[in-house]
Symmetry: C2
Subunit: 367 residues, 2 copies
């Protein structure tokens, strides 16, 4: 079964296709990949890990497509967050220009969040903007980074500091790709899934509380449901606030703490989702301290996160002072004032700078 | 006298302020520079040539402004088209992040087209988009690159291949800056001024025919009028077609030929405006060959361009074959088909791919 939903953004609206085994249905795959693309020049961008798994299937589907005389080229980038920078974009720009790809070309991002963010940013910048299609192969990318049009690269002084808002023309999720995802990556993706329940969807959180073990066991129907419901939540938020003027900031729940952890560890050791998991626990605890959230709810949140095999405490070697310092550089600090996403209840998040700094200190001190 | 006009782009509309001696009126200067900026963090971006001339005036005006507790920082980039690349943006991103400038900061581009394009692109990408103000100091930048939101950098394989559409929040033109501009730069700017007359404003072209010598003599009222009328024309085109879906392509009159000349010379020796001047002559000749334009009009065009001390023939060492090859890589070649801007009359340009390639060959052969 294949299911399609829409991210409503006026003339920039686009479909998200979610299904099992899409990569093994060449005609359907090629149809979905090429629907709405402006021309016939396609550049697939992937990495060394993903290329051996899926690249051939995608290439073959496009090459044999009934409608096609597509020109299909591929760039394989190195795998890893440490390559998510401006320099790594150069071989991609070189390839596009060497092949004389024009403004009507389409970039296809085949991989996880790093590939999606970098390819999207290259598409935003190449000739001031060309089309791109997201084909996310990790849970994190499927529920988060490939939906919403945030693209970019890291700078040594901060994550995603250089980027653009650039919406894909479609997103194509084959849930079977999760079969090859390693356990830790799967769990890291679950952190963002849990986030959607916490910020705006109590029913979903309750479902997650009941089904987290099914997701860990990679039960296909459970995964498909979780991905679909996560994308619905994300699409709804993004439709209401494409450029993060307000409500979209809710999606950063756990992220100011999380980014501080990632930065403190030099973007090594911990995965993004792991850092966000701790960030959500800390944000829940701060909400309790402020009297906004019941202690029992915070414990329930911590329980679900722990059962998803995710960490619930910041790394030992990050002192509270260092955490605070790193949080203050986060790009959500607007005009010097730290704003956090906190909970009024499960499924009810708010963005606020109206919190007692002492309460934040206490949460950072006690972990 | 200071005059303000508006580029109408809905919520992205912005004013262009044009006046004499604005840099010597600190209160007015600071008012204009800071009107509409979202925060109080300002980064002035300029180059080694412009900094000694105007930087202190701008800094002093902002620092002493009655309303201000602005944080004002400066980055001075090397001067020249050869530094218009991704690498040169690094010190700017470093400076922004080192000073922890947030999303509400404003970049001020003080300089010619290179500074404007690079600063605009940095503003488009920094934290996925911050505000910027254009303060163009060359005629070319005042009438062309600083209006319309095209930003970007060059790639070794092509000019402006990496960029973004990002509108400034205002443009501030002090026509007195033209007093320090060297003759060749002034003439190169006149090429774009003449272009506006040719593509859509017969009356302006007639005025230019009568006043080109006044402009070369830097007669202030003539310069102000030419800048104002050029900006009006550009604003009108950009308002109708912000992202170059159609009509905006008219602004590329002479540019496909011109870009080929620039690329053929390795972006050295000739200035952009000089290459465009020849491009306009060639486009006019092709229009005559196609029977679209009267020969007398083409001669009149060539006469005005020559009187502006601009070249009217392509460089000797660029063969017709090489020109054709370079023209075919230009980014306006959509899906492999070359489109050119040609004239149906003076003040009446069209974008078309419906021209006889033999006629193009003949024009390239005979110069």
């Amino acid at each position: 079964m294949q299911l399609t939903m829409t991210v409503n953004l006026g003339e920039r609206s686009y479909p998200i296709h979610i299904g099992r085994g899409l990569f093994d249905k060449p005609e359907l795959l090629a149809d979905l990949l090429t629907k709405g693309i402006p021309g016939s020049d396609i550049m697939i961008v992937t990495n060394e890990t993903i290329a051996p798994l899926y690249l051939e299937k995608i290439q073959a589907a496009l090459q044999n497509h009934r409608r096609a005389d597509y020109r299909i080229e591929t760039v394989v980038l190195p795998d890893g967050e440490k390559y998510k920078n401006l320099e790594t974009l150069n071989p991609l720009f070189d390839a596009l220009l060497n092949r004389r790809y024009a403004r009507d070309c389409t970039l296809v991002a085949l991989g996880g969040g790093v590939i999606g963010d970098m390819t999207g940013f290259a598409a935003a910048c190449y000739q001031r903007g060309v089309a791109f299609v997201q084909v996310p192969t990790t849970l994190l990318a499927q529920v988060d980074s490939s939906v919403g049009g945030k693209t970019g690269v890291n700078h040594p002084l901060g994550k995603n500091m250089i980027g653009a808002f650039h919406q894909p023309i479609s997103v194509l999720v084959d849930t079977d790709t999760l079969a090859t995802l390693d356990d830790r990556q799967l769990c890291a993706g679950l952190a963002e899934v849990i986030k959607y329940g916490l910020i705006r969807d109590l029913d979903f959180f309750t479902w997650l509380d009941d089904h987290i073990e099914d997701l860990l066991a990679r039960e296909p129907d459970a995964l498909r449901y979780a991905i679909h419901r996560s994308c619905e939540n994300k699409a709804s938020v993004v439709s209401a606030d494409e450029r993060e003027a307000g409500m979209r900031a809710l999606l950063n729940f756990g992220h100011t703490f999380g980014h501080a952890i990632e930065a403190g560890l030099g973007y090594k050791i911990w995965l993004h989702g792991e850092a966000v998991a701790v960030g959500m626990v800390l944000a829940a605890r701060l909400s309790v301290r402020l009297g906004w959230l019941e202690a029992a709810d915070a414990l329930r949140i911590e329980d679900v996160i722990r059962r998803a095999h995710l960490p619930v405490r910041a790394p030992q070697d990050l002192t509270p002072d260092r955490m605070r310092e790193l949080m203050s550089v986060d790009k959500k600090v607007l005009g010097g004032r730290m704003r956090l996403v906190l909970l009024r209840g499960i499924g009810d998040a708010v963005v606020t700078d109206a919190f007692d700094p002492d309460a934040l200190d206490a949460v950072l001190e006690t972990g």
